[in-house]
């Protein structure tokens, strides 16, 4: 007994040492975040189907419950909205479907493409601060000093998944989708990168945790004065600075739509023009990976918007996790509530707007947003020079 206690003590001391502590907390955070995000992905798909049908005066998936009758209960459990078991049914269906690889594809690239697509979306989650602290552990997996740059670098790698899928499928529609995706990516990456420069001009740092800390103290970038503990009316200088920030928010949001291939910019998959776009030749779980990747990219993008513009995990009158562990959990909840609100906004937009024509998309990217973002940088710099 004593020997066992001694072993446990040794293990405890070892785990609380600085390096092992960092390793196992990071692992725990990674696994936790992955579970939350993948769950969020599957229920975003459900929300997409349900909201779209409600908007079109249909009902949508409202039947599939949880099969509790298999466990010996009398009835299947179908809670309030109905259809909440649909994501599970979808996953089982996709896993059991025939995974068909056509003869004419370039096998190696055909196989790695779906993985590349989802990996890019998930890796960039690593630098997002999704909460304050929990038992003194900061709720960000990798606190690096170049957060947004890291995310831009990794998420633009996501286009490789699409391009490789389109090219290796050796068929014309996927190829057209891939080409469209490439040119769309180039034209919107620029506007996206430039649109966040005003924030860096204002804050003078690139660390996402510090950007959130700034918003805790001075209010959300889009709602100056809305600080965590003592909300106040914004100062005049903050009101003047709000205009370039609002412009950069709008440019960033629209570029985000284009970046994640969402309608009205879903030209790479344009079902009505290109059969299924870049994933026409894919089936079963490989198709599901593209699907997951698309929604995971949406979540990454929304998280970035929340961190940069909407105050991250802060909410007025809610203290951070250093006061008590349950406030830490509430902070995480606030962050994901904001992300979910943005995801629902994504869905609303998708079922409201028609798809852009290709030349309109290019005009919008190169002639409008690129210039607006560029001018916005000078505007912010001018205001800052005047204010300080």
């Amino acid at each position: 007994m004593n020997a066992l206690l001694q072993y446990l003590h040794v293990a405890y001391v070892f785990l609380m040492g600085p390096v092992p502590f960092l390793i196992w907390t990071s692992l725990a955070k990674t696994i936790g975040l992955l579970c939350v995000v993948l769950g969020l992905v599957s229920y975003t798909v459900y929300a997409e189907r349900r909201v779209s049908s409600l908007m079109q005066d249909r009902l949508g998936p409202n039947r599939t419950g949880f099969p509790t009758s298999l466990l010996g209960f009398k009835k299947d459990w179908s809670p309030f909205l109905g259809g909440l078991g649909q994501p599970i049914a979808d996953a089982v269906k996709l896993l059991l479907k025939e995974d068909f690889t056509p003869k004419y594809v370039k096998k190696f690239y055909y196989w790695i493409a779906p993985g590349l697509g989802i990996a890019a979306a998930i890796i960039s989650l690593a630098v997002i601060p999704f909460g304050s602290t929990l038992w003194g552990v900061p709720m960000v997996i990798a606190n690096i000093d170049a957060g947004p740059l890291f995310i831009f670098a990794i998420s633009s790698l996501g286009v490789y998944g699409i391009v490789l899928a389109g090219w290796s499928a050796n068929s014309k529609y996927p190829f057209l989708g891939a080409i469209r995706s490439t040119s769309q990516m180039i034209s919107y990456e620029l506007a996206m990168g430039l649109s966040v420069v005003p924030i860096f001009l204002l804050l003078g740092k690139l660390n996402l945790v510090e950007i959130v800390d700034y918003q805790v103290k001075n209010g959300w970038l889009l709602a100056p004065g809305l600080t965590a503990m003592h909300p106040r009316l914004p100062y005049l200088s903050e009101i003047v600075l709000w205009f370039p920030l609002a412009i950069s928010f709008i440019t960033f949001m629209i570029s985000m739509f284009a970046e994640t291939n969402r309608l009205p910019f879903d030209l790479p998959e344009a079902e009505t023009e290109l059969v299924g776009g870049y994933h026409t030749e894919y089936s079963s779980m490989k198709f599901a990976l593209f699907f997951l990747g698309e929604y995971a990219a949406m979540i990454t993008g929304s998280s970035l918007v929340v961190v940069l513009f909407l105050g991250g995990w802060t909410c007025p009158w809610i203290p951070d996790g250093s006061t008590a562990w349950y406030w830490g959990l509430v902070n995480i909840g606030v962050f994901f509530a904001k992300v979910i609100a943005l995801l629902i906004f994504f869905i609303f937009i998708r079922w409201t707007l028609p798809r852009f024509r290709y030349d309109q998309l290019m005009t919008l990217g190169w002639i409008w947003f690129f210039e607006i973002a560029l001018v916005n940088i000078f505007l912010t710099a001018g205001i800052l020079a005047f204010v300080h």
């Binding site: 908007m55 079109q56 005066d57």
Partner: protein, 176 residues
């Protein structure tokens, strides 16, 4: 001479597009809210509610073989329906009625009568062409099977679907 397509004059709000996005959102969200408040009338929840009770008199469901009140399946295997069938869904193998039978003068009856429901287009030509009032399109329309072979209705199935139909002309009575 090229025809010049008249382009509508756009207002400034329409040109910068974002206000029109809000207008669109207002419409779709209106539908969403109306649906959530239960104001939208959803017509029919299919598997629980069906059309069956409201089908019109002239509804054309699956073709079937009818039996009359004397218990005779009316088909005489003349094969007119087989010839007229546009998608060639019908296959008939005629057989001879033995001399001692009550209806011996009819001479023929279908030994086999198959309608391939994967081919049938429910056009009703078989019913129209039938000189014996033997084949009718009834109101059944839900047919599912796990193989193509199961989708072929054989004679027994067709007779079962057709059932008894009264009030038809009896031209093979012994008296006539």
């Amino acid at each position: 001479m090229a025809y010049k397509v008249p382009r509508p004059k756009l207002t400034f709000a329409e040109k910068i597009y974002l206000p029109t996005v809000l207008a669109g959102l207002k419409i779709t969200l209106g539908h969403l809210v109306r649906m959530l408040r239960g104001k939208t009338h959803v017509i029919m929840q299919y598997p629980e509610e069906k059309w069956d009770a409201n089908l019109p008199e002239h509804y054309r469901g699956a073709p079937t073989l009818v039996t009359d009140e004397t218990g005779r399946t009316r088909c005489v295997a003349c094969q007119l329906c087989e010839f007229i069938c546009p998608p060639r869904a019908i296959r008939i193998k005629p057989g001879e009625i033995p001399a001692e039978d009550k209806f011996a003068k009819v001479e023929k009856f279908p030994l086999e009568f198959d309608i391939d429901m994967t081919r049938c287009i429910y056009c009703g030509m078989c019913q129209e062409v039938c000189p014996e009032q033997a084949i009718f399109l009834r109101k059944d329309y839900v047919f599912t099977a796990t193989s193509r072979a199961d989708m072929v209705h054989n004679k027994a199935k067709l007779i079962e679907l057709g059932g008894v139909m009264t009030g038809l002309v009896h031209k093979w009575n012994e008296k006539k």
